[in-house]
């Protein structure tokens, strides 16, 4: 009990003695975590959106004439031979028209002057859920264009490609901010502890002469790093959550955020970022302790 009380009291003493530097350190840790978590949050949401778009992927083959019922199995066979698919749906002109009417809902009257035959028939090909490779999608599109009466294939691969490129770019940004986070946190904590050690040099020397154990001298410094990591990460994540809440409430309604179903980190990921922050700062402390304190 006394041991713990001493460690905590000594940590408090260290923090008080170098409070100016401690505040700066806390700010740096907070900003580093905020920066990293911000990009990671966007990246995380893009990944989720990308997965959802992949799930909804379908290739539509527009035909210049309807495929007679008796020829459909042969076409289905050709498609299956090229690659496994989840399902194949043949859409007639009438069916396409009725779908459009349903989609237009109250504005379906605009279709009154158009006949039910104005839309082209099509084949909807739903690839397996695991088909996310844009090259394969493109190859699939090229093959579908060779089917009898195929006029055009719509796969949305161009849009997916751009989305993928953006996600890849974001991945690089997240990695860079992660590296920045690691460097800045370990450096700043290590530097702060160095200042603590320098400011207490005389006291540490006397403690050593009085028989202070390694734990008595090192644990408060380690605890100082852990505390900085915990507080800095909590504040950084808290600030991001505040920003997220503010953004979602301010930009609610139809828009970009709703399109992607923008969400905050799940609790386990939040805890993981927090723990990573604590671990990095503790690592920085350990590095400093080993380097600057010999007992």
């Amino acid at each position: 009990m006394h041991f713990l009380a001493y460690i905590v009291r000594q940590t408090g003493k260290n923090l008080r003695q170098t409070w100016g530097t401690q505040v700066m350190t806390l700010l740096t840790v907070t900003l580093s975590v905020l920066l990293f978590a911000f990009f990671f949050l966007i990246y995380n949401n893009m990944l989720r959106a990308s997965a959802r778009l992949g799930d909804d992927l379908r290739l539509i083959v527009y035909l210049d004439q309807e495929i007679p019922e008796q020829n459909r199995p042969e076409i289905e066979k050709k498609i299956h031979e090229f690659g496994p698919v989840e399902k194949i749906v043949f859409v007639s002109r009438a069916e396409a028209f009725s779908r459009l009417r349903a989609q237009l809902d109250k504005e379906k009257d605009v279709l009154n002057d158009l006949g039910p035959d104005f839309l082209p028939p099509s084949i909807e090909v739903y690839p397996l859920k695991n088909l996310h490779d844009l090259t394969k999608i493109s190859q699939f599109s090229d093959f579908l264009l060779t089917l009898p009466h195929a006029a055009k294939v719509q796969s949305g691969s161009d849009w997916l490609r751009r989305f993928g490129d953006f996600t890849n770019l974001l991945q690089v940004v997240v990695l860079l901010s992660g590296v920045l986070l690691i460097i800045s946190m370990t450096f700043i904590i290590s530097y702060t502890l160095r200042l603590t050690v320098v400011s207490r040099q005389g006291e540490l020397e006397i403690l050593r002469l009085l028989g202070a154990t390694s734990a008595y001298i090192r644990l408060p410094l380690l605890l100082e790093g852990m505390l900085q990591g915990f507080l800095g990460s909590s504040l950084g994540l808290g600030a991001l959550y505040f920003l997220y809440q503010w953004t979602t409430s301010r930009f609610s309604g139809p828009g970009f955020l709703n399109l992607f179903d923008f969400a905050f980190f799940p609790p386990e990921l939040t805890a993981a970022i927090l723990l990573a922050g604590v671990a990095l700062c503790t690592g920085g402390s350990l590095f400093s302790i080993r380097r600057f304190i010999s007992i």
Partner: protein, 242 residues
């Protein structure tokens, strides 16, 4: 009371200890010495005779160039760093240069010695008050040590060394800055520790007034060589040679 060397085991034993500082300054040469449990031992000699070196060697602040040093029967060169720290908790050391934190109060400076042993705050305060009363410093308890006179600082350093009721107290020139009245207080503190706690006290000094009348053992260091003090009884030479 002087101890009987024939029956007691030595608390500190030095066997043929030599200490040479680089490049070739011989501080101690071939020194052999036994200090017995419960003994008050005076080590005299001129400045630079090697008294401080001997004290530093006993608590392993220095390591000997040659020879063996045992404390409580253990070769201290073989004790682990953690073991040395535990050993230092039981050895009180009053340094010649005091080594106080001048921005901290008398209470805080003395408390440090007990805090490293995780003593309770209540016990620390009680002990500090007791020691300050013994050294006539009660009114200085909450003063910063930087504001005290040299003599007062010296007594604070002694109080810190005595705080844990050490089994061995090493005092390096403990009366160097004290007037006769304060010197008397320090001698009384040593007696108190020796009689109440059974502490072994080693006093390195060139202040004749504190050992002139003593019945305890006095030995002299001269140019790194240890010998019985020239003005002491032959019995002490026997103890040295035992």
């Amino acid at each position: 009371m002087p101890r009987d060397a024939s029956t007691d085991k030595p608390l500190v034993e030095l066997v043929n200890v030599t200490k040479i500082y680089p490049p070739d300054i011989v501080a101690l040469e071939d020194v052999s010495l036994r200090i017995y449990k419960g003994e008050i031992f005076f080590l005299t000699g001129m400045s630079g005779a090697g008294k401080t070196t001997l004290i530093k060697l006993i608590c392993r602040l220095e390591t000997p160039t040659r020879g063996l040093i045992e404390v409580a029967g253990r070769d201290i060169s073989r004790i682990s760093p953690a073991g040395i720290q535990r050993m230092r908790q039981k050895i009180g050391i009053a340094y010649q240069e005091f080594r106080l934190l001048e921005k901290q109060t008398v209470l805080q400076n003395i408390a440090m010695a007990m805090e490293v042993t995780y003593a309770s705050t209540k016990a620390i305060h009680a002990r500090v008050d007791e020691l300050l009363a013994l050294l006539n410093l009660s009114d200085k308890r909450d003063k910063r040590t930087g504001e005290l006179s040299r003599g007062e600082q010296q007594r604070v350093a002694l109080a810190r060394a005595a705080a844990n009721g050490p089994s061995l107290l090493l005092a390096d020139e403990p009366t160097g800055n004290l007037d006769p009245a304060a010197t008397e207080l320090v001698i009384n503190l040593f007696r108190h520790l020796n009689e109440k706690n059974g502490s072994t006290i080693v006093v390195a000094t060139h202040d004749k007034s504190i050992y002139a009348e003593t019945e305890h053992r006095v030995m002299d260091l001269h140019n790194g060589h240890l010998s019985a003090h020239p003005n002491r009884a032959p019995r002490q030479i026997e103890l040295f040679e035992a």
